[in-house]
Symmetry: D2
Subunit: 285 residues, 4 copies
């Protein structure tokens, strides 16, 4: 998603004329569509669309795009979101002790691969502070014990709200978030689980994989819901392993996979290419 | 591509309003768009689109779709093709001695994966006749020697024209087609080359791969042009090999790859998902 | 595994000198080792080895190899098997209505990829008879109802024993085998399950995958045990899917995967490259 | 390769008894073989072996292993190298402006994935100094112009020799090394080329790939020889691209691949799992 663009993400009951009517809205206001893609889930009777156009030349100022679209949206019974690529979402990364996914995200951000404003790295461990500092991102160390878990979560929430964070990325964050916390950010908390879900839900998936003797290990990026490891899947990948690989080898090989899969999902989210419906996602190319 | 549908494949210089105007044509005639996808090649200044809709409910009989679209197409300076899913293209498979790709295509056809009418299997060897017969497809044995190559090509051409063949699939056909022959079927002859092109052009790519000591071997499906192994690529894939693999192992492993990649390309072509521009393809999902 | 070779498959408690002592046995009798590979599972304290050598030049006739090895095996407390590549194992394929894996195995067998003697295709449906006949393999049609399931299994068993079958391949066979049946062929019944196990155990894994919204589907070849879909895994692979794929698309795409994964496992078994220990396998390259 | 181990890397004309005689050497001195693997290249008549054993319990001190093995090696006409895992090779990374492979190697080194002692990062650009400093590795900035290229190479050589560097990793280093330089480090200079060689040799392979319209892009890690992009290949991989990907997208997607493939090759080299013969490699698992 390039600067100066607008994206509409739309879902609605399927009916005739949706592509025509929605693209006509853009055309009528002199917009140049850069990319339009749609999907019909025939089983669910649902139409899903993503349309991206240039705001340069568009005959509405950006604050009037949504009001101008509103009547058509109401008429067609659309669930919709408008995203402007100039409004870069404030993002927080939550990490624990392991730093590989954190490093990877910070490096990609610095390389310009992720259109996010990094508001903070928040961790229950002090270990990653030097990394955050190397990249110039504020680091909040909020240790958590069994006793003060909910209190500390409340403090995290406070920090996120104060910083107007819109996206939370769990970069191998080892604490399970409470339902209350999750409820504040529906489809806004991204997690990486180190297995090809639904296989090996829960703790120590590499150990589970080793015990079961699988020939592939995987990683899954998904939105967090109140069901553990059960949210809508955004990205998944696997790599081949063999009998030669110990649990330590699986952990090492899995790290690469976790980084790649999480980054792919974060990027898709930030480019407004992910639409959630039911417990599934459409990820537009 | 389901029965009873129409597909427009369009390319033209990029300009505003194309998605809106084209989808409006379908909507205006009460068509239900099942799938619309477009691509802008910004470097080439080119817009490419595929739109598929149901003819059931469409207010034009199918023979009037093209004439009705013509004025808009002229106005917008479109290069376009209309395909009706009920018109199943007559297809010939050219094979030599090796039968794995031939078998694979015949099996997929019988399983309903390929919307083609198999007009003939044509071969310069008698070996595959029992296979064609097992699947009930006419087999033409037209042996070729250095001396009568052009004559025999002329006979093949005659047979193809008599049978109104629109698509020719070279299923490991070991004869190089003359420029004249190729010229009769622009973007209508599909070939499978057993390497990840542009590596290992020409004969014996597995031997070349073995000599070079690569760690992957590949297969490439492409349209045939007068440049050997240089036509627009439709599909490619690779598999891992190791020092343990002899040339014979490469040949064996490559067979699976050739089948999969060729079948993927044939299917994409038959579903009208391939658009050629320059020496490249867009393959719509 | 080439004709005229012998293979020893060995597992035993790990200790020093095993590679030296076992390879010395071959050398002492003037054998030329073609391939030796071993693996130590340090956690289990287990040593596993595969050694293959040429019988040409070996100073023992093939019927004396096992007796000659016996004393060393006893001394080293080996669990071992000797396989001679000239003794091609009699193999039965069990199929139901779906024929793609059956076709694939028959084609590979005819192409010389599988060193097996195909003793019979056994099915609870009449549908695949013409296929078996095309390839010249006896076809046994043994229909099964809820009432006569155990009786029919007994008949299958009888047929297998009469034909001295050593390997049973379930090529999308849709009947669950009884524990009694399975007990007759420990690590001799190969099954293909159409998911990346342990995800989507049981019936309709493609439907389960569709419901869960995964981004990859898989296939798993494993030995059948009395635990459903829980036997030692030999081979696994996956392919990418997207929101565009319906359940029918998953079924279609999965077919290719099932064929490849099952064939890879059958080939590894027939080349005596699979060693089972615990509920896992070592698959030597 | 774990601390306290020894590895023999052997190649020689194939003959009987090699596995037995070599493993017997280890056993005779009371060594515990952790891993033995061998390969016969029948076409070349060559035997290649890697054997790793624990020095704990071995009845020779490590400085006597080589002298003790010498007589057998002479008798069997072996080309061999002994590597002791306690002797960690001094390694230099050469980089230019792009930092992704450099970062990746430094992170993996810190995570304990690469058994190397990082002697220096050497660059013709000042840009990567803060990165080297963040990881505590000396940074040598040696700018290069057309005029002083050979002089500067001589200085690099001097620095490498002074630091007793045994392995040189070109982490997207944009200078072509002179034949003289390469001659100092046969099979000791590792490069990453951003294509699936032999496709797209030379500069700007992503642009070449874009022009050709391939559906996969790749990366290749190889030893540097005096032939540009033609040295023995150690590792290769590819990823899928589509018509949607611009050259910039290829560059971005390729970065991940370059990191993974280079790291895999460096790790294999450091674990003494790579044997070069002719213009090929054996990479033992």
């Amino acid at each position: 998603m390039l600067p100066g663009n607008a994206v509409l993400l739309i879902s609605c009951p399927d009916r005739k004329g949706l592509v025509a009517l929605i693209s006509d809205f853009v055309y009528r206001h002199n917009g140049n569509i850069l990319h339009a893609d749609e999907h019909s889930d025939r089983e669910a009777g649902l139409f899903l669309m993503r349309v991206e156009w240039e705001l340069g030349g568009f005959d509405l100022p950006k604050e009037q795009v949504a009001p101008a679209f509103e009547p058509l949206a109401r008429e067609l019974d659309l669930r919709w979101e408008l995203r402007l690529s100039d409004e870069v979402p404030k993002t927080a990364i939550l990490a624990s002790k392991q730093d590989h996914c954190l490093y990877d995200l910070l490096l990609r951000h610095r390389a310009g691969e992720l259109r996010a404003e990094l508001a903070a790295v928040i961790s229950n461990h002090p270990a990653c502070r030097p990394i955050a500092e190397h990249f110039g991102v504020p680091y909040l160390f909020l240790p958590i014990t069994k006793e003060d878990k909910l209190e500390q979560e409340a403090r995290i929430l406070e920090e996120l709200e104060r910083r107007k964070v819109e996206l939370i990325v769990l970069a191998r964050y080892m604490q399970v978030l409470s339902d209350g916390f999750v409820g504040h950010y529906p489809n806004r908390i991204l997690n990486i689980h180190h297995s090809f879900l639904p296989a090996f839900v829960g703790p120590k998936p590499y150990h589970q994989a080793y015990q079961r003797g699988v020939k592939l290990i995987g990683a899954t990026a998904h939105y967090v819901t109140t069901q553990l490891d059960d949210g809508p899947i955004i990205a998944q990948d696997v790599i081949r392993i063999s009998h030669r690989d110990s649990v330590e080898d699986l952990v090492r090989k899995g790290k690469d996979l976790e980084e790649l899969v999480l980054a792919r999902a974060v990027r898709a989210h930030l480019e407004n290419r992910v639409l959630v419906y039911g417990n599934k996602t459409v990820v537009f190319d």
